[in-house]
Point group: C2
Chain length 546, copies 2
């Protein structure tokens, strides 16, 4: 590209005229690790506004331009998450001579244990880490856990480390619920909010603290679903900054945090309750995030009463508050069908003893997760139990009190053990209660029903005679897996055709009509796997749902 | 606009040099009626390709440019549907001298009985005619009823006139199902399909026949939901015309038909089964229709397995095949919530005795209509019963055999009698089984449940103490309305607040705890109307769902 070449040529001239070569030795960083350049520079004026800094990283034909940021005390930083191994070179760019043309080399080595890279959309409706390892989101929410005391924050991290949760929804900015007994220890801007602060100057301490927590989440395998805006900072007028300030804040956050591989961008919590912004503002903010982030981290936005238009191309996946959507699998599946993107109902009401948005029993929370799972979407957890110290998981973090987390750990094991391609609806036109991969793996969930018997019968797609299946009974509440004796052998029905009178149920039976005795309780699932006999019929191309 | 002025000036010169003034007397047409200009012109070459003709209609500041079309035998026509009363002038434009600068006047008078103008989107999720009269779609489908014998087509019209249906999904182009015993009498292009026809020349007879039928539908109050493409014309290669031919066909159809006020554009039936077209093709075709239609008739597209992105701005309302979506109200409501447009599930499976897409009982068909209705969306009918003469309603029209139509007539009466603003969900977060307008009108549908008692209790939004309501029991299958004696008087519960322990069910009770005895059958609904006492609380602004 001529423009880039011209630019590079300019920088070479600059560098020859003004710059001493950076004395850094060759540094080593792991793939998807965080490499940081720190450079002293001008501290006069307002560096947050006046100084632009970036670096261009190159590896063979690949070039990544990475915005940097001012970290206070005359120090500028550029953080880079390399996506391939081998030797990378970089050269800095700036509107200040002192920060132009600093060059360096880094060697990127294989990722360490537990580092699979950032999470991406995979197979249309699912997720995988950059190295191809499937990622099955099983998230929770603790909005303001990073705005607490050291003790509570440490407790939150310990709780998460011992929990099934691999994602957490968390707000970058503080909220004003309950500040009388627990005021936020730090604010994002210099000075005291809202009258005596300067929204053109960031408070590096605030962000350093957040970064520490994000790094700790990364180290325990938890994705940080970072909420950039919310309606609950009115005390400090955080909901009513002007567009220029909003955009600068977003770019600063992205410059600081995008090199953390476990970051997701959630433009807002309950975006439509931020009455000071229009849908156009949100569209613009999405584009600001997208354009500022060199790594294209996942992007979404969470609604109150009005759902954002998730069909927009800058939305990578659906993040939605909608309790009714996961009351049964058929509703959940509709959303997936409509959006053709991964869907996460990350607020399905909360387990707890509070108002109607936080009054689910543990059983109902677990039921909603299973309903979503078999429908091929994902569900999020949260809980709100009154606590004498005013620390509730949903707001402040701390410890979990609900009954659902161990059952969600059981579900996570089932998900991790499931097909690599993810759980997809098997026959959406007939039933959303069976997910899996046709011919290979089925997860059937009976929900609130409590049958005492199930006769082996599966949607016909990819099935033929003589396929052998194992069946296990999963008790989603008591967390038991009970294998059923023997194998189940398929026998197909007459094929679907257009003849009048043709029976068209598109089902396949068991050869001997075998059935499975069930415990007659709600919350029972079946896991059915192809274990031998005839191979599955090859899939249609283009794929046609049966 | 200077461009238009310059153009007009040119035409005036043209007219002075070449043209004799049109000798037409002042013609009269009703508002939203069809005014037609017929002009003799060149018949040499290929007039369908070579000749462009349009007319500019003006009324005060309003100008409408209306494309015309070649109707064979050396005749060109321009059809105009005036949207306001008074005197309109027109002048023709063309790339042929003989068709340039023809001028005329027309007087537009009040619409006649039954003429409410074209249907538009109204109140986000609903429809109304241009004169403001609410339009509640209750449609059916007979794909190829205009490709039959005169006798069958007359029977179809008679059936429709005696039915509750006020819309019909119908294909412009013939289909090849069953052509062995009933070949289409006309084709859209000159010659014999597919090898010996000329797709650059239209067959005016084909379109004149279609227009006659559309006019007859208009006269019995039925909207023509015209399907422009479908996957079922492979015998004649109608699915595989090139983009230029597709676009020309669409423009020709729109030029001929857009002046019929009862026309809707459905880009396709089961668009995703047309394997020869991409999503980009459909996007383009939508834009061709939108740009060609001076009246902005309703536009949508009907899916097979893959839903089109109905969030696109050129889609005015959702037309969707999705049986599961209306099995219960909660699913239906989700679609409305997501799209923020009117939703019509116009293929919810069909009543009949055929394959699984056409095996609903009459009861189940009626159930699906009611589920959609209380959720604030609309549902479509169709039926497929084997017939000795191979005439089934879904394909060929003829007569209706199912049990649902009289019950749908009952439903239509309920809809027409409902609130002018339409039926909206009353409390989507808690239940989708109650639709209406809060404080004024409620329609509660019990679906497949068969309760014997209902205790008066409504979602709290807009309710306060001392409001008086009437209650009627509607049997959706037996078509009875049974008023319940007396009035029901509201008593509110303690208000919602953020205090721990606060009860938050957001419900309002009856003062004396009155309940209603129900018949213990499925398919029962309640109609509850505010009839006196205290007035409803004013709505929130901006509106917040409760």
């Amino acid at each position: 590209m001529p423009t880039r070449r011209t630019l590079t040529a300019c920088f070479i001239v600059f560098y020859q005229c003004f710059i001493t070569l950076s004395a850094n030795a060759l540094e080593t960083v792991e793939q998807w690790g965080l490499f940081e350049i720190a450079l002293p520079g001008p501290a006069d004026g307002n560096p947050f506004i006046d100084v632009a800094i970036a670096a261009e990283f190159t590896h063979g034909d690949a070039t990544v331009t990475v915005p940097g940021f001012y970290d206070g005390d005359g120090i500028y930083r550029i953080r880079f998450m390399p996506d391939r191994r081998g030797e990378w070179r970089y050269v800095t760019q700036s509107n200040r001579v002192a920060l132009v043309g600093r060059t360096g080399l880094l060697r990127v080595v294989a990722p360490g244990a537990g580092n699979h890279g950032p999470v991406r959309v995979h197979n249309v409706h699912h997720f995988a880490y950059a190295d191809g390892t499937p990622y099955r989101p099983l998230g929770t929410t603790a909005y303001t856990w990073t705005h607490r005391t050291e003790a509570i924050e440490a407790q939150t991290l310990a709780t998460l480390a011992g929990s099934p949760f691999n994602k957490i929804r968390m707000a970058v900015l503080p909220q004003d619920h309950g500040i009388a007994y627990m005021p936020p220890p730090r604010f994002p801007f210099e000075g005291s909010p809202p009258r005596d602060w300067d929204t053109t100057r960031f408070n590096p301490d605030f962000f350093r603290h957040l970064e520490t927590r994000i790094g700790q989440l990364r180290d325990i395998g938890v994705e940080a679903d970072l909420i950039l805006f919310h309606p609950y900072g009115k005390t400090w007028e955080l909901h009513a900054l002007d567009a220029e300030t909003d955009d600068r804040y977003v770019r600063y956050v992205v410059a600081r945090l995008a090199a953390y591989r476990n970051v997701w961008w959630s433009l807002a919590n309950e975006y439509d309750f931020v009455r000071t912004k229009t849908e156009d503002d949100w569209d613009r903010l999405f584009r600001v995030v997208r354009d500022a982030d060199p790594y294209d981290h996942l992007r979404s936005i969470h609604n109150g009463n009005r759902v954002y238009n998730h069909a927009e191309p800058w939305v990578t996946h659906v993040s939605m508050q909608n309790g009714p959507a996961v009351e049964e699998a058929g509703r959940a599946e509709l959303l997936r069908h409509v959006y053709r993107k991964p869907v996460i109902i990350d607020e399905a009401r909360y387990e707890g003893n509070f108002m109607r948005w936080a009054n689910l029993s543990g059983q109902e929370m677990v039921h909603r997760f299973w309903s979503g799972t078999v429908a091929g979407i994902y569900v999020g957890h949260g809980e709100f139990f009154h606590a004498p110290n005013n620390v509730t998981w949903l707001g402040q973090g701390g410890e979990l009190k609900g009954e659902s987390p161990p059952r969600l750990a059981f579900l996570r094991n089932v998900m991790e053990d499931g097909p690599a391609a993810g759980i997809d609806p098997i026959d959406r036109w007939e039933t959303a209660d069976i997910g899996g991969q046709p011919g290979e793996y089925y997860l059937l969930y009976f929900g609130r029903r409590a049958p005492t018997k199930w006769t082996f019968r599966l949607p016909r797609y990819r099935l033929t005679d003589g396929m052998e299946f194992s069946v296990e009974i999963l008790d989603t509440w008591n967390m038991t897996v009970t294998p059923v004796d023997g194998v189940f052998v398929t026998r197909t029905r007459p094929p679907y055709d257009f003849q009048p009178g043709s029976v068209d149920e598109r089902l396949t039976d068991e050869r001997d009509g075998r059935s499975v005795a069930l415990p007659g309780r709600p919350g029972i699932a079946l896991r059915i796997r192809h274990v031998g006999g005839t191979a599955p019929v090859p899939p249609n191309d283009p794929p046609i749902e049966p």
